[in-house]
């Protein structure tokens, strides 16, 4: 239990895995491993991190083929026979090494109309929304998303269909569709319906399986499917 054999992706879309030997310690995270490589073995390695305590999602990478927050992934949990393969998140363009271009991810968020639109101003009274109402509970179940991209990387439909908006964008759209203060519900449902939207979800549930915040985009997307159905039946779509 003294050394790890670590393969790290180097390069952009074209590149190769580079091997490193990293000292193994008890209570070591994959982020510790990447940090050690960059500081002690190869200063040219590019990677992202920020809080390193499981709050910001910046350190998300592919570890042995699975998208994870590396600061929250203990080496003991994932290293089989003291080996690790670390790669950039799937389904996103690679800028360099372990750093991906998140613009497409957030563009889809915008295309899904993933931002709140209200009508009240600061001169009016607060909206009163009971936190334990059924509708608000549905919203609360999905609002803790921090946009880390793990679900988007885990999703096979995103890999197969480049137009697919993906679990994070659709999850956010759902929280807004169910938000009683929001006023663009119909436009949003139109934005998330169809081949590139909620109807392309086949309930693989990889997003739900991998979300580090414990959210279920599958549940949100199912909600969107039902909401679109209601909208079509009412002639609103």
């Amino acid at each position: 239990m003294s050394a790890l054999a670590v393969e790290v992706w180097r390069g952009g879309a074209q590149g190769a895995f580079q091997s490193f030997e990293v000292p193994r310690h008890p209570s070591q995270t994959v982020l510790d491993v990447v940090t050690y490589i960059q500081r002690s073995l190869d200063a040219t390695l590019a990677y992202r991190f920020a809080c390193r305590v499981g709050m910001c999602g910046s350190c998300a990478m592919s570890v042995n083929g699975v998208p994870r927050w590396t600061c929250r992934t203990h080496v003991d949990k994932v290293a089989r026979e003291s080996k690790l393969v670390i790669a950039p998140l799937r389904n996103l363009p690679v800028i360099r090494d372990l750093v991906t271009d998140m613009r497409g991810f957030f563009d889809k968020w915008a295309r899904a109309k993933g931002s709140f639109a209200g009508t009240k101003t600061r001169r009016e009274d607060f909206a009163r929304v009971a936190p334990d109402s059924a509708g608000r509970r549905k919203v609360d179940a999905g609002i803790e998303c921090i946009g880390c991209g793990v679900c988007y990387s885990a999703c096979d439909v995103v890999a197969w269909n480049p137009d697919y908006l993906g679990p994070a964008a659709l999850n956010r759209a759902w929280t807004l569709v169910k938000d009683e203060r929001d006023v663009v519900k119909h436009e949003r449902l139109r934005a998330v319906a169809g081949d590139a939207g909620c109807h392309a979800c086949h309930t693989h549930m990889s997003c739900t399986e991998r979300c580090p915040m414990g959210l279920s985009p599958t549940a949100a997307i199912s909600g969107l499917k039902r909401a679109v159905l209601g909208s079509v039946l009412k002639g609103e779509l």
Binding site: N64, G65, V66, D156, H202, T203, H204, M205, S206, T208, E209, S216, T218, A219, S222, G223, K225, R226
Partner: protein, 104 residues
């Protein structure tokens, strides 16, 4: 990439669907030629054909089981145990396969 049960159920659902879509025109064509049914039935007595028939019943039951799981996930109120529906779909398939095997 580690694969979990919901992904396998999806794969079974999709592959069985493709297989059934390929099989059905043949099935319809054979039945449409019903005048030759006895000759067809004699042909179906062969063991390889019997095994294929069993395979088709299993594919149909698998597709149904996995499809019921999709309908449950999309239309029923969400519960965390719904991941276990994959197992339910598998059980249904097994039951149908056994029943048909016993009947043959």
């Amino acid at each position: 990439m580690n694969r979990h049960s919901s992904y396998w159920v999806f794969l079974v659902h999709r592959l069985s669907g493709i297989a059934l879509a390929l099989f059905l025109p043949v099935h319809f064509w054979a039945l449409g030629d019903a005048l030759q049914l006895d000759a067809l039935l004699a042909w179906t007595e062969q063991p390889l054909v019997k095994f294929s028939e069993w395979g088709l019943v299993v594919l149909l039951a698998a597709h149904l089981g996995a499809g019921l799981r999709v309908l449950a996930l999309e239309f029923l109120p969400w519960r965390d145990w719904q991941k276990g529906l994959a197992a339910a779909a598998a059980a249904l398939t097994l039951a149908a396969g056994l029943a048909f095997a016993l009947a043959l």
